[in-house]
């Protein structure tokens, strides 16, 4: 059984939680840009958190399901002919139309049983620069057939039958969208980067005072920030050092780059800041033109933010499990 792509939208790929343990070989973890929304979508269809889903970007696809399939769409708020943020039992042969993201930029469409694609290095995530993982290592196209689990109809019906508060082919309740931006500019917490002190005081202040916007040439590797260009550090070349999800690099042209899921594992540009892990999924929900600003924090606050996000997600996951009668 498969789901067919009738219209691919913009940049639709297969993603899961990513492949860890290969950064020493130059391979980033990759995976969902917004892992929080992925976790919610998986939970809504009764999956474990390590299943792969479709990552949609800004404009969603038209999909046709070859069998009755339990699906859920989370993350950005897309125009769609299905209710979002909740489980929906789609009938065999029915067209699911997903249009523009009205709030946020990335959506996750999970299906019951996950996407049974052969993992590469322990993950089904598509790594576009390396042309591997996911569906043939590439963005999905019109006509692609994505595999569903063999017993998809029975599994979907069985799971749907367990759900409380049913209303036709969906339910009356929904999961909270935890990462879609309420209003812009969004606030991102940063700690000082390794080279923060090398920038002069004016540049440091400009970095924190500027309302930045996501530049059009941003992608899964990194978000380029438009705004007043920053003056680079006066002295010396930077020795290429390790980078991280959320590292903010300042290349010679002064336009900062925030490293996202498919980032390079090392970099030779000075790093002015590091975005707190808990804030990266919200950043992933900004489309080009989306606005943000930075506020300084420290490691302790960053850890508290991480714990608070974990608790909000766990609370939502427990709520969904309860609806399944678990």
């Amino acid at each position: 059984m498969t789901l067919r792509v009738l219209r691919p939208g913009i940049l639709m790929t297969v993603q899961d939680v990513g492949r860890h343990g290969y950064q020493h070989l130059g391979l980033c973890p990759g995976g969902a840009m917004d892992p929080v929304a992925l976790a919610l979508a998986n939970a809504l269809v009764g999956n474990g958190d390590d299943e792969a889903a479709l990552e949609l970007t800004i404009l969603g696809p038209d999909l046709e399901f070859g069998a009755d399939t339990l699906i859920a769409l989370c993350g950005a708020e897309f125009e769609a002919n299905i209710p979002v943020n909740r489980p929906v039992l789609v009938e065999a042969g029915k067209l699911v139309h997903i249009g523009r993201a009205m709030r946020g930029a990335r959506g996750y469409l999970a299906v019951a049983g996950g996407l049974p694609i052969e993992p590469v290095l322990g993950s089904r995530s598509t790594y576009l620069p390396g042309h591997f993982g996911g569906h043939e290592g590439r963005t999905l196209r019109r006509g692609d057939a994505i595999p569903l689990v063999a017993n998809i109809a029975a599994l979907s019906q069985e799971r749907f039958a367990r759900l409380k508060g049913k209303n036709g082919r969906s339910v009356r309740w929904w999961a909270p969208p935890l990462t879609a931006p309420d209003r812009e500019p969004i606030l991102l917490h940063v700690i000082e980067g390794e080279h923060y002190a090398r920038f002069d005081a004016t540049t440091q202040r400009t970095f924190l005072d500027t309302v930045w916007s996501i530049a059009p040439d941003s992608n899964r590797m990194g978000f380029r920030l438009g705004g007043a260009p920053l003056l680079g550090p006066a002295q010396g070349e930077i020795l290429s050092g390790p980078t991280c999800l959320g590292s903010v690099q300042v290349p010679a042209n002064g336009q900062p780059i925030v490293l996202m899921a498919d980032h390079q594992t090392t970099g030779g540009y000075p790093r002015i800041a590091e975005v707190a892990y808990a804030d990266v999924p919200r950043l992933a929900q900004l489309a080009p033109g989306g606005r943000l600003h930075f506020a300084r924090c420290n490691l302790e606050i960053a850890a508290q933010l991480r714990k608070a996000l974990r608790e909000r997600l766990d609370s939502a996951l427990h709520g969904i499990a309860w609806e399944y009668g678990n």
């Binding site: 390396g130 591997f132 993982g133 390790p242 090392t266």
Partner: protein
């Protein structure tokens, strides 16, 4: 800026940390002059303290000897002009013949300083001082897979076709990075690399 002793120390420390197999560390990444420990985001300890303690413990227990970090890797490389679009320019800049550039490049003993920039992309020290040339003024939009290139005091191999600004002086028929292999990367930091010059005919004879 680059200190080879610091680099070797970073690799020894990385090996020691990695060998401990701490479950809350997802990645241990040695770079040119620094080491990154990537923590599981659900780890609830005070990361800075825990990391400092871990490093201290590794130091106390003793780091592996440099010769026990990395392996010996022999890399066939063809310096034929078809694979070496920049070898004449390098020859002109260094007042050597293209053949001498190839001979001097192949003669060196190299060490992998860091994997970075792209999966499997190895930066190596050990280049003959006579072959020191700057990067190209304009990077190429696509460098062919397996290209062996030099700039400043280092040499690299491009693991797949990506943009790059180093001077291409040869190509290896080996697959540098393949995600479907048990060992996806031909190189890891600390490897000692020797080149084996091959002819264009031998290059073509390698299994694809």
């Amino acid at each position: 800026m680059l200190d080879l002793e610091v680099n070797a120390f970073v690799q020894r420390l990385a090996a020691a940390v990695h060998a401990r197999g701490e479950p809350w560390i997802r990645d241990v990444v040695p770079a040119l002059g620094g080491l990154a420990l990537h923590f599981d985001p659900d780890f609830e300890g005070v990361i800075s303290d825990v990391a400092a303690e871990l490093v201290e413990r590794c130091m106390k227990e003793g780091l592996p000897d440099p010769e026990n970090v990395g392996r010996e890797v022999e890399v066939p490389v063809c310096y034929d002009r078809v694979f070496a679009p920049d070898i004449e320019e390098v020859a002109a800049r260094t007042a050597l013949s293209p053949e001498e550039v190839a001979t001097r490049h192949a003669a060196g003993e190299y060490r992998v300083l860091m994997i970075g920039f792209a999966p499997g992309h190895a930066y190596m020290s050990g280049l003959d001082a006579k072959l020191t040339v700057p990067r190209r003024a304009t990077p190429r939009p696509v460098v062919p897979t397996g290209s062996v290139a030099i700039a400043n005091e280092q040499t690299v191999i491009y693991p797949y076709a990506i943009a790059g600004g180093w001077n291409i002086i040869g190509r290896t028929p080996l697959t540098v990075f393949n995600a479907s292999r048990a060992q996806p990367s031909l190189f890891t930091a600390g490897d000692r690399v020797r080149w084996r010059p091959i002819s264009a005919a031998e290059f073509e004879g390698f299994p694809k």
